[in-house]
């Protein structure tokens, strides 16, 4: 595929998106190093990004339409991988069975990758439809495609990862012409149902104490045991606040993560590490970089040559924006602690690889914007 690269391809390639993504990832390496200077997470991340870039180039220069045509195959493989997690091949890390170990490939997290076949499968289905409002039948079929991987992820169980799939479906529905009144209805229903379900859940004990505590830590941080379930939220908030305007001052200022007050600093709480080390200036720069990246991708969606390509880009945009908001919101103590990685920043080979592959699709769609 690379062999058939034409000059035109290089000219039309969306260099801005690629460079932005690589810059954020490089910034991430620095922060992973800050999080745990005496561990090898950051060197691993460099290898991960190396592999991810290769994958990115391959996907970017491959015609996404051919890949969407093969979506059912990828989708089937994805479901098999997710199923393997539930078999003895699954590996438990930190009490969570979300990984699988395969010969030659090694250990990885299928739920990170399966987003892509899910997006492709949904884009293939909704991309072929013509104009007019989304019908109920179409929603059901899309919902069924979506339910396969998400159901398997919930069986792991990895609710945090499952949640990151929902923006994909939402984007698909929204951009396939779902009636605005359904959107309004869904928002209103959520506004009523979620607090209602919360109260019923608390009363019936369906929502476990630790889950309640995690929510309480957000609503009223002073009311929870600072050493209990509120610990992550409180320590992350302290770490962020301590960063101040420009971050750690001088050699003697040992970071929260090095002193192990901040848990999971290299992965889930990488944003808190960034905040402590680079301060408000660094954090706002990072958020601006994300905004730029998202804008650039959305611009690509506007120029996409077909509906499927537009849906691929926008679902990637929505999934990514949602993850950024969930992760940073958690680090800033406004959202409950859910193990959602920060795209391009958090250490983790599966996450960085799947993110670059997703961006590869975005770039690929844009590359072919002039094709009839």
């Amino acid at each position: 595929m690379v062999a058939i690269l034409e000059k035109r391809d290089l000219r039309d390639l969306d260099w801005q998106t690629a460079v932005l993504a690589i810059m954020i990832a490089a910034f991430g390496i620095w922060q992973i190093h800050n999080a745990a200077p005496d561990q090898n997470f950051w060197t691993k991340q460099i290898y991960g990004i190396g592999i991810a870039l290769v994958a990115f180039v391959v996907v970017a220069f491959t015609d996404y339409r051919r890949l969407i045509d093969s979506a059912p195959v990828f989708y089937a493989i994805g479901l098999i991988l997710l199923f393997l997690v539930l078999t003895p091949l699954g590996v438990t890390v930190n009490g969570q069975k979300a990984w699988v170990r395969l010969p030659l490939v090694g250990q990885f997290q299928p739920s990170e990758f399966v987003k892509i076949p899910t997006v492709l499968m949904l884009a293939k289905y909704y991309g072929s439809r013509k104009s007019g409002a989304l019908s109920f039948k179409e929603m059901l079929i899309g919902g069924a495609i979506f339910a396969g991987p998400v159901g398997l992820i919930l069986l792991e169980p990895d609710a945090g990862q499952a949640i990151t799939y929902f923006p994909i479906l939402a984007a698909m529905f929204f951009l396939s012409g779902i009636k605005v009144r359904y959107v309004v209805l869904a928002v209103v229903a959520a506004a009523i149902f979620i607090p209602g379900a919360w109260m019923v859940g608390v009363k019936t004990g369906k929502i476990k104490t630790y889950q309640q505590e995690r929510i309480n830590a957000i609503i009223d941080p002073d009311s929870v045991d600072p050493r209990g379930y509120g610990y992550h939220t409180i320590q992350s908030t302290i770490t962020v606040g301590k960063g101040g305007l420009s971050g750690i001052k001088g050699e003697t200022d040992i970071s929260q993560s090095v002193l192990k007050f901040l848990p999971e600093p290299h992965s889930d709480f990488i944003f808190a590490v960034t905040a402590e080390n680079t301060g408000f200036i660094g954090c706002v720069s990072l958020l601006l970089a994300y905004a730029l990246l998202l804008s650039r991708m959305i611009a690509g969606a506007r120029q996409a040559s077909d509906r499927a390509g537009m849906l691929v880009i926008m679902s990637v945009v929505c999934a990514m924006a949602f993850q950024i908001f969930m992760n940073v919101g958690m680090a800033l103590g406004v959202l409950p602690v859910i193990g959602v990685p920060l795209p391009l920043m958090s250490a983790g080979l599966s996450a960085i690889l799947s993110t670059f592959v997703a961006i590869g699709f975005v770039v690929s769609v844009r590359l072919r914007r002039f094709v009839n």
């Binding site: 951009l175 302290i238 101040g244 919101g329 800033l332």
Partner: protein, 630 residues
């Protein structure tokens, strides 16, 4: 596909998503602004508070020496098992009780108390769980470091009393500050905290402030599990000042030896330099081992031993020299005679009073032990004629006795530099009570009071001080142990907030001696009488030392009525004295509880102290010829 081609309004929908994404990012940005810019200092401080710890470095306590440089108390390095509360926060401490008590051989009850106490402390505080541990306990702690991260072994100086039971009442002991002491706001102000070691009893308590060092500390950065990661600052401790006492340990040993060999093994002997008030020896028997209090408070057998001390009816913990109050018996006649002379009730030339073999008050006859005719004062002293004093007491009246009591300070503490000194009880103390309950002060009470019985109980130290002042021609000094506190150099750099300035040396701040006005005649007749007690065929003639004129007075104080005065109710034996009689260098008082006659039981004990003194100093140049010439 161009979005605006479609009727689904896709352009607007994409734009909506873009706006939504930007709104969310802006929300995050404003939250960041709040946390980092608005509340940045607050969170910096919180981060600082959870990582900075002060680890105290205990300061060595000053040593205590006798006047010749003999070491009486010091501190030696010991290994303690220390319990820190940080790792305990998240566990149920009750699970630890059995492990600790089995592993370290501690009493369950003690472990429970310790755990409860440590749980109440601030974060990152530590407390001693077991003191003075051996290799076995150290190995146990080290091998269970993963299981019990809250335990660690620390090297700390521990108070050591090499003399054991010897001198224990004077030295006192140290121990952890009690919860009750901590309730005192003054103590809190001085910065005392639970677990601090403080002087308890004796010189350790009285001079705690000077003996105590000032602890240093290490300011460290700890990680989330409380493990030290880096040191920010270190302030060295400043040792306490060494205390040099006036004690002469050779005399002390002689005194203790006498008590140990006495018939009841209960009593007290004090030796004092009458020229200064410096105490040369102070023995009280039975005694206790202060080391038990220092080392044993955490072990079952140590606690049993301490409980036994408290329950022992012989009261080994109490310093009879300053806390014991005994009827003085005939020793009381010395201050009484001097008082009568000062008040002019008798004069040196007209001091004769009838003995009469006793006296009849109302229908009750109170006898004298002998029949002495109508003796002059010195003879009455030498022979301890009760009949003489019955009449002298009546002639002085209770007001005269009270006047004398005030003259010799029996209504106050002696001011010795030991805690918990008791004030004697005298007719002055009793007067309001008697008047209230009996309407008047009867003559029979005056008669009893005149021979140091009934309403009179005094501390041995008050008696020694009063009698010694007569030997000093009326100069009454404050008894004390402090000779010198040695200087300690400064720690740190001047101007630093942690600078600890030098602690200069200082000696006992002698109050002006109380002057008891007496004429040469009065002094002469008194000392001659006392000289006669030992050297002129008096009640203590058996202890005479050739070439060393002891002036003294025996006392045989009734504990129970006549006829019941045997066994444990036997009389207390007293002997109070100074020597050489007309140029005193040393004053000695001996009291042997329930042993019988003073001349036979107390006087020989005092003599042994004098012998020890002579053995060290040699006989004085002037001898008995001087007395004989008077």
């Amino acid at each position: 596909m161009k979005l605006n081609d479609h009727v689904q309004n896709l352009g607007a929908r994409v734009f909506t998503i873009q706006v939504l994404a930007f709104v969310l990012l802006t929300l995050l940005g404003s939250r960041l602004y709040y946390l980092q810019i608005v509340k940045g200092d607050y969170y910096s401080e919180r981060a600082e508070n959870q990582r900075i710890r002060l680890i105290p470095i205990p300061a060595p306590r000053g040593a205590i020496f006798d006047r010749n440089g003999k070491l009486l108390v010091d501190s030696r390095p010991t290994y303690n098992v220390v319990l820190s509360n940080e790792p305990l926060k998240n566990i149920n401490v009750n699970e630890r009780v059995d492990d600790y008590s089995r592993g370290l051989g501690l009493e369950r009850q003690f472990v429970v108390e310790r755990l409860n106490l440590i749980k109440k402390q601030n974060e990152f505080e530590a407390m001693v769980l077991k003191e003075n541990v051996g290799i076995q306990d150290i190995t146990w702690v080290e091998s269970h470091s993963l299981e019990f991260p809250e335990l660690r072994v620390e090297l700390q100086p521990q108070r050591h009393y090499p003399l054991g039971t010897s001198l224990a009442h004077v030295l006192g002991y140290v121990g952890e500050i009690s919860p009750k002491q901590l309730e005192d706001p003054a103590m809190r102000e001085k910065g005392f905290r639970p677990g601090d070691v403080i002087g308890k009893g004796g010189l350790e308590q009285y001079y705690d402030e000077f003996l105590r060092g000032r602890p240093g500390y290490r300011k460290v950065i700890v990680d989330s599990r409380g493990r030290v990661q880096a040191e920010v600052e270190k302030v060295d401790p400043q040792s306490g000042q060494d205390l040099v006492t006036t004690i002469d340990y050779d005399l002390q040993l002689a005194a203790e030896n006498e008590l140990a060999n006495s018939s009841t093994k209960r009593g007290t002997i004090i030796a004092m330099d009458p020229n200064t008030g410096g105490i040369l020896a102070m023995a009280s028997a039975p005694s206790f081992d202060p080391n038990i209090f220092v080392q044993g408070s955490s072990t079952p057998e140590g606690r049993r031993q301490i409980a036994a001390y408290w329950q022992d009816e012989k009261r080994p913990l109490y310093n009879r020299a300053i806390q014991g109050r005994y009827p003085p018996g005939s020793t009381w006649k010395i201050p009484e005679s001097m008082g009568a002379l000062i008040q002019g009730v008798i004069t040196p030339s007209h001091s004769n009073m009838a003995c009469g073999g006793g006296i009849t008050i109302g229908s009750k006859f109170t006898r004298c032990m002998g029949s002495h005719g109508s003796p002059p004062l010195s003879y009455a002293i030498t022979k301890s004629c009760d009949g003489y004093y019955y009449r002298l007491g009546l002639k002085m009246g209770v007001e005269g006795l009270i006047n004398m009591i005030e003259t010799f300070g029996y209504d106050k503490r002696s001011g010795i530099d030991l805690p918990n000194e008791k004030v004697p009880q005298t007719p002055k103390t009793w007067m309001p009570y008697i008047l209230k309950h009996e309407g008047k002060w009867s003559d029979i009470r005056t008669v009893y009071a005149s021979i140091g019985q009934d309403t009179v109980v005094v501390t041995p130290i008050s008696m020694l001080r009063a009698v010694a002042s007569i030997g000093m021609h009326g100069k009454m000094y404050t008894p004390h142990f402090l000779q010198e506190f040695r200087a300690i150099g400064p720690v740190g750099d001047e101007g630093d907030s942690t600078y600890m300035p030098a602690r200069p040396n200082f000696g006992f701040q002698h109050p002006e001696p109380k002057i008891i006005p007496m004429t040469d005649d009065q002094y002469d007749v008194m000392v001659k009488g006392m000289w006669g007690v030992v050297n002129g065929g008096g009640t203590a003639g058996s202890i005479r030392i050739a070439g060393f004129d002891i002036a003294g007075k025996t006392g045989t104080a009734q504990v129970a009525e006549l006829g019941k005065d045997s066994g444990k109710n036997k009389d207390h034996a007293w002997f109070v004295s100074f020597a050489p009689a007309f140029k005193p260098e040393i004053a000695v008082i001996a009291l042997i509880e329930n042993s019988g006659f003073g001349g036979a039981n107390a006087a020989p004990a005092a003599r042994a102290v004098y012998s020890a003194y002579i053995a060290k100093k040699g006989l004085p140049k002037t001898d008995g010829q001087e007395v004989a010439s008077r």
